[in-house]
């Protein structure tokens, strides 16, 4: 009763019905859009198949194989449609993960599965191409599994460091906090990122060093407590503070006559400028008996931090432990002690230095953009779930349905801010994120410099939008 031909007809009818239903009932859905795109790309081939089908039906009325030919045309059309829907899905979702780019690359393996189904379906009815279709389908299936697995794993996109150092800013004129923030950004890639697992900045320090108390660092010493520990290390016989020539290391001094460190800040500067001068026990290059360090010289390529940047980094190392950081001049002098003038990295703008990159901290938007673009450019989407904003499904921070959230939070006894309305609460959360930290999210994750990055127009647009978001309700349409 249910032979292959009849089953094929039933399957084709069901799929055709499903497509028609989607088109009729959900005219604005993503699936409909996908089918429209597929039609736009593949209509010429589809037209040929339909023409063939009509020819078989009406032009070869006496052909005893007419039914078979028409049936194969239907199956061919079905496979062809599925193939082009898969391509449309690929085209729609293919992007380079740029901020604001449409689509979701994680959906691409779905295309491979669709082509697999298409191949195996057609292989059932086109005997001449059966083996090729089955083999092809199988390869698509294997690739879809592997690509699917790749997309299931945690996704990290690594941006290159800025083209040049923090040009345009004088590190000595910055406040201690700004200088420390700059240091944190160099180490971890963002202000407040020191608690984020896997965060890494231009300095690349967390590749090897640990920074949290108790964290087991296997590749390089944990730098927690280093300002105090430095004083102890300098007393180590191996460090040979009084006479560098007695050191048993690959390099005895950072430069001839540079000598050894006498303060914690000098010790840190020497470690950066000459990692080989003293190697903490157990962290040397394997086989060198701790005489050689695997750490690169920080002011040279590939890390290539400028002295200003190293001042910022060292400031952060002190400041984050509640220690009074040495003055920028003291740190600079420490570096000058261990880096001869000819060897010092050139400041941005100097001859030989590369073009200056964008100035960090400068406004990232003009305020004229649509609100979704502002969210994208300001990177809010990376951490927050913001209904109505494509791609804003971050889980690092709370979901921003502020019309629902804000009233309750303002009344919370733990709330220390001054806001009295939803709009004020949103503004406060952006400018001073620590005024109220939503549980269970940790403090200091959200950058504190959005007040500088976003101008009044942009802030207003953000506040307008977030203040309308309610849990369980449709987000407002973006203008």
């Amino acid at each position: 009763m249910f032979n292959a031909k009849r089953m094929g007809f039933i399957t084709a009818a069901i799929i055709a019905g499903a497509i028609a239903a989607v088109l009729a009932i959900l005219p604005d859905s993503g699936a409909t859009q996908l089918m429209r795109n597929a039609l736009a790309i593949g209509w010429p081939g589809g037209l040929v198949i339909v023409t063939l089908m009509l020819y078989f039906q009406f032009g070869r009325a006496k052909d005893p194989n007419r039914g078979q030919l028409v049936f194969r045309s239907i199956i061919g059309l079905l496979g062809y449609a599925m193939f082009f829907i898969a391509i449309a899905n690929y085209a729609t979702n293919f992007n380079d993960e740029s901020f604001g780019a449409p689509g979701e690359p994680r959906f691409l393996p779905v295309s491979l599965v669709m082509i697999t189904v298409s191949c195996f379906t057609m292989a059932m009815y086109f005997k001449g191409l059966r083996v090729l279709l089955q083999l092809g389908g199988f390869m698509f299936f294997v690739s879809s599994c592997l690509a699917g697995f790749g997309n299931w794993l945690p996704q990290v996109k690594a941006d290159p460091p800025p083209a040049e150092a923090e040009g345009g800013q004088n590190v000595k004129e910055m406040s201690v906090q700004d200088r420390a923030d700059m240091g944190e950004k160099i180490i971890f890639g963002a202000v407040g990122a020191s608690n984020t697992q896997g965060a890494i900045g231009k300095g690349q320090c967390p590749l090897c060093h640990g920074f949290q108390k108790g964290f087991l660092s296997e590749r390089a010493p944990n730098l927690f407590g280093v300002p105090k520990r430095a004083l102890e290390q300098m007393k180590d016989v191996k460090y040979s503070q009084k006479d560098a020539s007695k050191r048993d290391t690959a390099q005895k001094e950072a430069c001839p006559g540079c000598g050894t460190a006498s303060t914690a800040v000098e010790y840190i500067a020497e470690s950066h400028a000459c990692p080989n001068c003293y190697v903490v026990a157990g962290f040397g290059v394997k086989g060198t008996n701790d005489k050689e360090s695997p750490m690169p010289v920080i002011h040279k390529s590939p890390i290539g931090l400028s002295i200003d940047e190293m001042i910022a980094v060292d400031t952060w190392l002190f400041a984050r432990e509640g220690e009074e950081p040495p003055s920028p001049e003291d740190i600079e002098n420490a570096y000058k002690k261990f880096i001869p003038e000819a060897d010092r990295p050139k400041p941005a703008g100097a001859p030989g230095a590369g073009p200056a990159g964008p100035v960090p901290g400068a406004p990232v938007v003009t305020g004229d953009e649509p609100v979704n673009e502002i969210f994208t450019k300001a990177l809010c989407f990376a951490c927050h779930n913001i209904p109505g904003i494509p791609g804003a499904v971050g889980a690092v921070g709370p979901k921003l349905v502020e019309r629902t959230n804000a009233p309750g939070r303002i009344k919370d006894p733990a709330y220390k801010g001054k806001a009295t309305s939803v709009r004020e609460y949103i503004m406060e959360s952006i400018i001073t994120p620590s005024a109220y930290v939503v549980k269970p999210y940790p403090d200091n994750i959200m950058p504190k410099d959005f007040g500088k990055k976003l101008n009044a127009a942009a802030l207003n647009k953000i506040i307008d939008y977030l203040a309308q978001l309610e849990e369980g309700k449709e987000p407002p349409k973006i203008k």
Partner: protein, 645 residues
């Protein structure tokens, strides 16, 4: 000379002919070397150009230090250009240029690997055909070698076309970068082009002369040509490797990227040889996979039993070659990685413990899948042999062992998590499953998988045979004891690893790997000796194997291709935002590193594109069949790889 027999005389003439042929073909290489070595450097004594008188007020030659070799040399090149994002340095379509280059590069590499690997198989198989005394077997070997080279011929044209596309892509999308590379590698690139001509000529003579050079002395000349073909191919590959090795670990230039006149330093960078070895072995495994897929395709479309028998055998041989080269591949990879760490520890950490570490999880899954599939194919192959039923009952236990180890093998060490997830789990590692994500468990798992695969192969060797040597009981007992002790040792050391410090634990992998390799070499060798003159319970019925087994071959081929794309991506992307590591920065908008998902999508695209085109090549190959495979009736004795049943 009178004492020399006819065969020896033929050999001497063949070697002489070969020597002349090699000399003529490599002549362009030697001619170009002096010019290349000078690189335009002021070395008039070695240069073929007439000496130019230096003006009296000429500036002294500036000298600089080699960034890697630390030697001093005259500055003869311009510094690496500092590019800016714009149409001058990065002209573009409305699409990511890097993705276009990725596709062009990968396709050229797939075809290039294939056409370099296949002539090596041909050489070995044709040689086997010459030295085999059984004429029927010799013809069969010869036919197989011919089949191999026929497939690679069409692929060869495609390789050249794709090479052209690749160069055009570089020139049109990355002109500044390519210009810099070409300014340094100018002599190497010309030599490469000349060698390519030599390779093409040799290949065409080798293929089209197959029938004319079928007998006697000419056959020796013919097989000698395959040696030449492979020599040129290997040099070609090594020259191309020097470009990518330079991009990853530059040498021969100073810290500004200025060429210092020593072309050998530029070619012979610290990662060049590890990459060469890794690629040769990888190409062989990949080539085996592609030929196995071809054989599977021809098996599935075969119309007669003879055809099915021939292609079943061909698929088995190709799979065998592929897996043989798959086994040493991790060791070559280990050497490469060790050299990467020695060159720049940060680069090593970015690969194995940083940004790209997750890609190695995918690799682990693939390696596990490859071994599972190989086992499955061998078990399916037991169906060809009467008497192999007695081994079927053990398969279920082996499946259990393999799957368990596979799951342990792919358990990740840590996961990237949000602070909330981290808190909920109580740390970076899961309290229970985390125990399986550590090196101790993984080392135990992968060694158990390989040892079980060896056991499967030994089982397969014995399929339809019963050893008749006198010492067979003792040999069996030894094999049983060896494998039992091996499993106890591997798993015991894995458990012991949990109780000792990390630095001691690392050393445990040595006895574990030694155990596995002992099982592989001693087990297979002993079994092969035991099976000499063994009693056959029934013939091996080539062609009488399940269709599923052929899908296992397709799975192996697809997985090899995917893994090659994956590892190539890892090697390339570890340069992060550098065109030439630490010398020339990538300032295009695509200097970032893509997510794993995006990379996986691109690798899939490349793999499928390659397979769609190579299926077309297979189809073309089937159109031009002039000779039917040598008839071999079902159950006829056919040659098998050394050590097989």
């Amino acid at each position: 000379m009178a004492t020399l027999n006819k065969q020896a005389q033929k050999k001497i003439w063949a070697f002489l002919a070969l020597g002349t042929f090699v000399g003529l073909l490599l002549l362009p290489l030697f001619l170009s070397l002096p010019a290349g070595a000078s690189g335009g450097a002021p070395a008039p004594a070695a240069s073929t150009a007439p000496p130019v008188a230096q003006p009296a007020d000429a500036k002294p030659v500036e000298k600089s230090r080699d960034i890697w070799y630390k030697t001093e040399g005259p500055v003869v090149g311009a510094p690496a250009p500092k590019t800016t994002d714009g149409p001058k340095d990065y002209p573009r379509y409305n699409f990511e240029s890097r993705v276009l280059l990725w596709v062009a590069n990968q396709q050229h590499l797939y075809y290039g690997s294939f056409v370099l690997a296949v002539p090596i198989f041909c050489m070995v198989i044709e040689y086997l055909g010459i030295i085999t005394k059984d004429k029927a077997l010799a013809r069969k070997y010869d036919q197989l070698a011919y089949d191999f080279i026929k497939i690679s011929l069409t692929a060869y044209s495609l390789t050249a076309i794709l090479g052209g596309i690749l160069v055009f892509t570089y020139l049109t999308l990355y002109p500044t970068f390519f210009g810099y590379l070409a300014s340094i590698f100018r002599p190497v690139m010309h030599t490469y082009a000349l060698l390519f001509v030599a390779e093409s000529g040799t290949l065409y003579i080798y293929y089209y002369g197959w029938d004319r050079m079928r007998e006697g002395f000419l056959k020796w000349v013919h097989v000698s040509m395959s040696v030449v073909l492979n020599m040129i191919g290997t040099v070609l590959m090594m020259l191309a490797n020097s470009w990518i090795a330079f991009m990853q670990s530059p040498a021969g230039v100073d810290d500004q990227g200025r060429y210092l006149g020593n072309i050998w330093h530029v070619i012979h960078t610290t990662l060049w040889n590890p990459i060469n070895v890794h690629r040769i072995i990888g190409n062989m495994a990949f080539g085996g996979g592609v030929v196995a897929a071809y054989a599977a395709y021809r098996f599935l479309t075969a119309k007669t039993d003879e055809e099915r028998a021939h292609y079943d055998w061909m698929g088995y041989v190709a799979m065998f070659i592929g897996v043989c080269f798959l086994i040493p591949l991790p060791f070559a990879g280990y050497w490469l990685m060790r050299e990467v760490y020695a060159y720049r520890q940060q680069m090593g950490i970015t690969l194995m413990g940083g940004l790209l570490a997750w890609l190695f999880i995918i690799q682990a899954v693939m390696i596990g899948s490859l071994f599972l599939t190989t086992n499955y194919y061998l078990w399916q192959g037991l169906e060809r042999m009467r008497g192999a039923e007695r081994y079927q009952k053990y398969i279920k236990y082996m499946v259990f062992v393999l799957i368990t180890c596979f799951i342990v093998w792919l358990t990740p060490h840590t996961m990237v998590m949000t602070p909330g997830e981290l808190k909920a789990m109580g740390g970076q590692q899961h309290p229970v499953l985390g125990n399986y994500g550590v090196m101790s468990a993984k080392n135990g798992a992968i060694n158990t998988i390989i040892t079980t695969t060896v056991l499967s192969f030994i089982m397969y060797q014995r399929g339809n045979k019963v050893p008749t040597v006198k010492w067979a009981p003792m040999g069996n007992a030894f094999l049983f004891g060896m494998f039992t002790v091996a499993y106890i040792n591997i798993i015991g050391l894995a458990i012991y690893g949990y109780y000792i410090p990390a630095n001691v634990r690392v050393g445990l992998s040595v006895p574990q790997v030694a155990t596995t390799l002992s099982c592989l070499f001693i087990g297979v060798l002993l079994n092969s000796i035991m099976l000499k003159g063994a009693k056959e319970l029934g013939p091996t019925a080539w062609g009488q194997v399940s269709v599923r087994s052929q899908y296992a071959l397709i799975m192996l081929a697809t997985a090899f291709t995917w893994m090659m794309g994956l590892m190539g991506y890892i090697r390339s992307s570890v340069r992060l935002f550098w065109h030439v590591n630490e010398i020339m920065r990538d300032n295009s908008p695509w200097a970032f590193t893509h997510t794993i998902g995006f990379a996986a999508n691109m690798i899939s695209f490349n793999v499928l594109f390659f397979w769609i085109t190579i299926l077309f090549v297979f189809w073309l190959g089937s159109l031009g069949i002039k000779k039917a495979p040598v008839a071999a009736s079902v159950g006829q004795k056919v040659p098998v790889p050394a050590g097989s049943h």
